[in-house]
């Protein structure tokens, strides 16, 4: 009997044993992971692009992990509420985050932001949506050059609409101003669709919006795309030139959707989740659904995503500084 006693008897020894168990715990968890439901926090309302991407992936991820994967919407503060909730969640792989660029932009805009990208480990850069430079059908500008020429003649007279202060279209607008040397007046409109509405009504002159928002209008001819931010022309819009051919390679912008885990999540779990997301993105059914939702699959793994995000952060920090967006 004596030999069977596994727990050391002395008081001291018992503590050592406890510490050993605690040290082993994350590793043990990683081996067994997952044993319960995995939550994907979406910091935007249902129906947003993050929500759609996460919900398309969730069933595949669930099948691969053998546990339910659910999408939980925590909208508010332009994404800040949900991102913060994810930051404060236990770093055990049971809470992960799906988010577009605001995870990077919010800390640049708001000095009081209680999170930065350092609080997260990227799992994957799943999809992206190209950005389009659009004017309305009735406007006189047929090409990007014509618009730039007019803007140079009348500095500050022309307006661009954004989804609100500190949002992606605002950052892009300021970057466009920096790279093309024109001056436009920023009119924050509250959302991408509000920006599209104001543009269609002729209340602002130009906007830089995702293809998801503008596509149906470009197809119908109610909006004219002066350029699309991409390396190559889009298959569906072969007549729309790219920002790269127009001589602005820095304006090759992706509005990405990424998956993140809290920074202290154990490496084996990060690896597992990253692999599962990557595999799910390769599924043909997923690919078809994502294509339908007007997004492109990127499928960057953790390292590639981290590199890409560092470059993004550098670019947007400069815009925030030059355009004085931060407060």
């Amino acid at each position: 009997m004596k030999n069977l006693r596994a727990v050391p008897r002395t008081r001291h020894g018992r503590y050592v044993f406890l510490v050993l168990i605690l040290l082993c715990a994350p590793a043990l968890n990683a081996a067994e992971y997952p044993t319960k439901t995995v939550q994907i926090i979406n910091p935007f309302p249902p129906g947003a692009v993050t929500d759609i991407v996460a919900r398309i992936l969730a069933p595949k991820m669930s099948a691969a992990l053998g546990q339910p994967v659910v999408v939980v919407n925590k909208p508010g503060g332009g994404g800040a509420v949900g991102i913060q909730v994810a930051k404060e969640a236990a770093p055990d792989g049971y809470t992960i985050l799906v988010t577009p660029p605001p995870i990077l932009l919010i800390p640049l805009v708001n000095k009081n932001s209680r999170f930065t990208t350092k609080d997260f480990t990227p799992l994957a850069l799943a999809t992206s949506s190209p950005n389009t430079t659009v004017v309305r059908k009735e406007s006189p500008w047929k090409t990007l050059e014509e618009f730039i020429a007019e803007a140079k003649k009348t500095p500050g007279q022309l307006t661009y609409g954004s989804a609100g202060p500190g949002t992606t279209p605002h950052f892009i607008g300021e970057l466009v101003k920096m790279k093309t040397g024109i001056d436009l007046t920023h009119v924050p409109l509250g959302s991408e669709s509000a920006a599209a509405t104001a543009l269609l009504g002729g209340h602002v002159n130009i906007s830089f919006l995702t293809l998801g928002t503008t596509r149906s209008h470009i197809e119908a001819g109610t909006l004219r795309a002066l350029a699309v931010a991409s390396n190559r022309r889009l298959k569906d819009f072969p007549n729309v030139p790219t920002t790269v051919e127009k001589g602005f390679p820095e304006l090759n912008l992706k509005i990405w959707v990424g998956f993140f885990a809290p920074a202290k999540t154990p490496a084996p779990i990060v690896k597992r989740l990253a692999a599962v997301i990557s595999e799910s993105l390769k599924d043909s059914e997923v690919a078809a659904s994502i294509a339908k939702s007007q997004a492109l699959i990127e499928n960057f793994g953790p390292q590639e995503a981290a590199k890409f995000l560092a470059e993004e952060e550098r670019k947007w920090s400069e815009v925030a500084r030059v355009a004085n967006i931060a407060h």
Binding site: P46, G47, A48, I52, K74, G77, V187, A198, A220
Partner: protein
């Protein structure tokens, strides 16, 4: 005729057994969601959105739309019975509806709101059918200056919302406008009055505030008087509106339907504003405006018709232009996008069976809701006999669950409770909640559109008088403000 063929196509889609079932399901869920305070259509649609991923696109939108207009039907129930708006668009209904209930006329109030909703819903659908593409384009001519003018007109409605002192109503309006400034500055992005609380960055939520000011305050007020007298002063008289009620309600329903439909088209909280405007209009044209707020059926019929017609109107920008004008429309857009269908200018041409099927299902759904709601009236009215000692903890519980269900955010519950206590104190000294809510709805739109307009005009105020729609609205507002002075003088 083209239209007839389209309608026939629509019904062929809407009347398949599966779609009939989804329409019914949506209507039932919507009614439930509307009846439960706090839990609004946005939450319910969001919750069911993922279920629709596997459904046919037509079935998906048919079910989700059922939830939306079902909630508008159901929302008035608690407003009338216990003075707690089921959703924000029913705040106005409580002004006269609750008074009617206390006089034993809950059945008449519920009945007229069900019929009014049905008539308005049907008229709205007809409007949607005939005018969708035309009106969608017209809505685009509303830019920031026009919205500003519209909110200025809207604020003059305050004078019609108060029962008692005008001074007190104006104080509440000012407080409401101030409450509307909480949160991120819409132009610079700076935080205002948020005190580092993340939830406040988005501003005070309309639902938690309305639930507090009306629901919680009502419970608190009743607690102070419980045991001293019965909640309902008289016996219940009849379960349906009588002939006189009908005669009084017919025009308010007609006017409310038109107003609601056109205001619904404009972005923003269309149904909420529509119900306020309708109430003001009814009071203005009434031969006994002084009786409004004491239980006049016109005050229920008009706003209820307006908020239902507005739901039909609010689909126009989405279906004809692909522009979601509110959170709920964004959800519909998401539901379609997930099936690879992008609403846009070509939507009606590219997916006729979807567009017309959807519209036909709204006819069907409205009829279902009427059939569903009329028998329920008897049950609701009997509910009023429940002793308040049992009813109030239940109401409180539903308010808590409802607000939490919005964004799963505890801070919003706290906001609701704070406004509950404030609302109670306000009532004790004769200040009313309705002007506060109206100002809180209009304030942020007013501020944002004013500043956007001035950005566009580079600081030139003439933008508000040189644009035709804007100028007309400004002149109307002036007339609105001056006309009571003129009539008052004449009377003297």
């Amino acid at each position: 005729m083209d239209l007839l063929a389209n309608v026939a196509l629509g019904f062929s889609v809407a009347l398949t057994p599966a779609n009939l079932m989804f329409c019914f399901l949506g209507s039932v869920v919507g009614t439930l969601v509307g009846v439960l305070p706090g839990l609004g259509p946005v939450g319910a649609v969001a919750f069911l959105l993922s279920l629709t991923f596997k459904m046919e696109p037509a079935s998906a939108v048919i079910m989700l739309a059922g939830i939306y207009y079902g909630a508008m039907y159901g929302g008035s129930t608690t407003s009338i019975l216990v003075n707690i708006p089921g959703e924000t668009a029913s705040v106005v209904t409580s002004l006269d509806g609750y008074r009617m209930a206390r006089q034993g006329r809950a059945g008449a109030a519920l009945g007229i709101s069900a019929f009014g909703s049905f008539i308005a819903g049907t008229l709205g659908v007809i409007g949607l059918m005939c005018l969708a593409p035309l009106l969608g384009r017209a809505a685009l001519s509303f830019g920031p200056p026009e919205y500003f003018a519209l909110t200025v007109t809207g604020l003059t409605l305050v004078s019609y919302l108060s029962r008692g002192s005008m001074t007190k109503a104006l104080i509440m309006t000012t407080l409401g406008l101030l409450a509307g400034t909480v949160g991120m500055d819409p132009i610079s992005g700076e935080e205002r009055f948020a005190y580092g609380i993340l939830t406040l960055r988005d501003g005070l939520g309309l639902v938690p505030v309305a639930m507090g000011l009306f629901g919680i305050a009502e419970v608190l007020e009743n607690l102070t008087t419980v045991g001293q007298h019965a909640i309902y002063e008289t016996k219940i008289k009849g379960l349906l509106p009588n002939l006189k009620d009908w005669k009084n309600s017919l025009w308010p329903i007609a006017r409310g339907s038109c107003l609601g439909f056109f205001l619904g088209i404009l972005p923003g909280p269309g149904p909420v504003i529509a119900s306020f405007v309708s109430y003001a209009v009814e009071k203005r044209v009434s031969r006994y405006p002084e009786k409004f707020g004491t239980g006049v059926i016109e005050g229920v019929a008009g706003p209820e018709a307006a908020n239902n017609a507005a739901t039909a109107g609010s689909f126009i920008p989405l279906l004809s232009l692909g522009i979601p004008t509110s959170a709920i429309m964004a959800l519909f857009m998401g539901a379609l996008m997930i099936h690879g269908i992008q609403p846009g200018p070509l939507f009606i041409v590219k997916y006729p069976e979807l567009f017309w099927g959807f519209i036909a299902s709204m006819y069907v759904g409205n009829a279902m809701l009427l059939v569903l709601n009329l028998p329920l009236i008897g049950i609701w009215v009997r509910l009023l006999k429940t002793p308040y000692i049992i009813l109030f903890p239940l109401i409180l519980l539903f308010c808590l669950i409802g607000v939490y269900s919005l964004n799963a955010n505890v801070t919003e519950i706290i906001i609701m409770l704070i406004f509950g206590v404030l609302g109670f104190l306000f009532r004790q000294v004769g200040f009313e909640g309705a002007p506060f809510i109206l100002a809180m709805v209009l304030g942020p739109i007013m501020e944002t559109s004013l500043r956007q307009s001035l950005l566009i005009s580079r600081g030139n105020f003439s933008i508000f008088f040189t644009r035709p729609i804007c100028a007309v609205l400004m002149v109307l507002t002036a007339a609105f403000l001056v006309s009571p002075l003129v009539t008052a003088k004449r009377k003297r």
